[in-house]
Amino acid sequence: MNLKDLAYWFNDFWTEFRREKSGLIGLAILATAVLVVVFEPLILPFKGAAASWRNINYWEDNSPNAPPVWTNLLPGKDSAVTGTIKPARVSEATIEGGAVATTWEFEYVYQYDLPPLDLIMHLRATGNLTFQMTLQRPDGKSILLSQASEHGLANGTIRMAATAYGRDACFAFLKQYENADRVGILTSSDMKVTDIAFAEAKEGMFDNPVAQKGKYRILVTAIGNAGTDKVESCEIIVAGRVSGLLGTDNLKRDLFSGIVAGLKWALLIGLFVSFVSVIIGVMYGIIAAYFGGMIDKTMMFIYYIVNSIPVLPILIVFSAVFKPSLMTIIWIMIIFSWTGSVMTVRSMALQIKEETYIEAARALGSGHARIIFKHMAPLLIPYSFASMALSVPGFIVFESSLSLLGLGDPTIVTWGAILHDAMLGNAMLNGVWWWIIPPGLLIAIMGMTFAFLGFAMDKILHPKLRTR
């Protein structure tokens, strides 16, 4: 088949395919999925999500179990959104004794009902420095959230969280406004830093804080020796109560990133396993049918054995004994699932084998390989495509079930692995629905996509199925 024939064939196929609505839907979803995979680095909110999925430090600045951002659209109280703030202004001032104070000024417009869970400052520094983080409230009052000194830094990273250092300052702030009886029975360890820092300063602010909306300013000051000490890349992370498109899990991981990073594995596993196993199955069926006799009988015997081995128990045992990796899981799936198309192909090949042109080719002196590859296999290609598309969802679900059982590749993030973590994290009991529904739904949608494609192709390539 040369290129022109292929183009002609494809044209024909496309004209027919366009009429299949479900096929078009499938194609659209698949195209979107492929685009997402291609542009994954641009789409990922956390660039290192795929590589650092199981690295707890990578996710430490997020809030745990935060619902998706769009839940703010639902009726009820609005929650602060997770985000990063870049400095609006940087200023330097020389103080007595040759020290320099570098001040970054951050602006944070707070317009929610529920305050963020934390304010976290990051910067890189060299030398011996003292840091301060101050919150200036819209009502003019300010709170010193944290203060720390570091020595001997060599371009080291500094992380200061308001909740870790700000309790005393908040307790002092609270004392000014709350009535003395209430304050009397509290200690600084009872303070919820952000609740107080973002509440209207009045009596009862500890028990029933009312959000003080408006523009907050966060000032970060680093004091060090001029010339020898350096500070740079300062930023503030607001760890909100809602986070990202799909929220976070109990280990603070951004689920949207996980799901985007898992898409390529779902596609890879589904497409690769179905491609290889269908090719093997088709060739197996053709060879059995073509040679017939004892070869056919032996091959069918092997087929029946492989076909009747339950794969899941084998994989469970295998994964328990060996360290499962993506490739071994893929190959085991192939080893046990190539049988899917054998019977259909064999029966089709038995029919093709009897065609006169096969006999004519033999009379011309064609060898077995030539007859199989030049005459028989091309006729079965359309069937193979349809059966590949139809078997993809099975493999995606299969890998997900394995991961759900905890038998997946621990080095990658797959949708099944996310579900497995959700199960371990009691997502159901804790009401963390955004941890379960999106991956589950996407597994179903991915399966549906390929089922749609497969059905549409099946209809076109097997005209007998046409209902019109």
Binding site: T356, E359, A360, A363, L364, G365, S366, K374, P378
Partner: protein, 340 residues
């Protein structure tokens, strides 16, 4: 002509050729009782001379196509020998079979089915060249294809090379099928009813073409047909087959003008002729019934249940062998003198 000349004159000799098929039996049936055997070809003897057109004639089910396939080595005979050009080819394999297939080629009955519908004419004709590694040069192969298409009078050849088989008429396809066999320069062609599926109007043309090719290239044909009228026109010698055996054999004119065996007679009578005034009448046949099943061949002369001249001796005595009636005319009827 002495014996030595005669031997080299013969290109194909078939001796006591048999093909028995054993159909798949159920488990119980295979345990008890004798095996049911279908004797499709049951002891065939003939030889074809170099440059001759040898016709093998018979009803459907007489084993003529099976014989063709055995000669073509597409199926293996149960017993007997096939000698081609002095070489016993009954059980050759691999290289020798490949070499044999360069020298013996086959034209199939159905020109619609004998070409892969996905191949263009160029690819159809290129296939034998590729298989037998005739030429690695695509342009040279193209020239050979053009030459072969010219031989079968497909003009201009370039027009047809890019077409698919379904874009050609039945006659054109059979020409292409012939060209495909000629491209390897074979010595012998097995033509299995090459014109039976072609319109009556183009039959003569195809047969003319085949005859021209045969004369030009000095080919030998084994022409298999059920059609006596084309056989007489086309062949030099014919053999009439009935239930896997030859019942009459001889020069074409001799056999058709002076048939000896009752079966041949019946066949000749059955040929419809568009004679004025008789177009509407359907001929009354001397023989009745269907050809018996080759799984259950009648004892004695296998034609006796349908023979109008049959006597008890025909079924009671052993099967008659071919007998010489002179002028190279052979037959297998023991009562030929009485019924003549």
């Amino acid at each position: 002509m002495n014996d030595n000349d005669k031997a080299s004159d013969v290109i194909l000799t078939v001796e006591n050729l048999k093909k028995h098929f054993t159909p798949h039996a159920g488990l119980l049936a295979s345990l008890g009782g004798p095996k049911r055997v279908i004797r499709a070809v049951d002891g065939l003897n003939f030889s074809i001379r170099r440059g001759e057109i040898f016709g093998l004639i018979g009803e459907s089910g007489s084993g003529k196509t099976t014989t063709g396939k055995m000669v073509m080595k597409l199926i293996d005979p149960t017993s007997g020998t096939i000698v081609f050009n002095g070489e016993d080819v009954t059980s050759i394999h691999r290289q020798r079979l490949q070499a044999y297939r360069r020298r013996v080629q086959m034209i199939f009955q159905d020109p619609y089915a004998s070409m892969n519908p996905r191949f263009k004419i160029r690819e159809v004709l290129e296939e034998p060249l590729v298989i037998h590694r005739i030429s690695a040069d695509r342009r040279k192969r193209g020239e050979m294809i053009i030459k072969a298409l010219n031989e079968v009078k497909m003009n201009p050849p370039e027009d047809y090379m890019g077409r698919f088989p379904h874009m050609l008429s039945g006659g054109q396809r059979q020409r292409v099928a012939t060209a495909r066999t000629l491209i390897l320069n074979p010595m012998m062609l097995v033509a299995d009813e090459p014109v039976s599926m072609i319109d009556l109007s183009t039959r003569a043309e195809i047969l003319h073409m085949m005859k021209d090719v045969q004369r030009d290239l000095g080919l030998t044909y084994l022409y298999i047909t059920h059609d006596l009228s084309t056989a007489r026109y086309f062949t030099d010698r014919i053999a009439v087959m009935y239930l896997g055996r030859i019942v009459e054999m001889g020069p074409a004119e001799e056999v058709i003008d002076n048939p000896i065996h009752p079966y041949t007679r019946a066949l000749i009578q059955a040929v419809p002729e568009p004679v004025t005034g008789q177009v509407e009448t359907i001929k009354e046949l001397a023989i009745s019934g269907e050809i018996p099943s080759p799984a259950n061949i009648p004892p004695g002369c296998r034609f006796h249940p349908r023979c109008p001249f049959a006597k008890p001796e025909c079924s009671g005595q052993a099967e008659p062998e071919l007998m010489d009636a002179g002028k190279g005319h052979f037959h297998a009827c023991r009562r030929w003198k009485e019924i003549g």
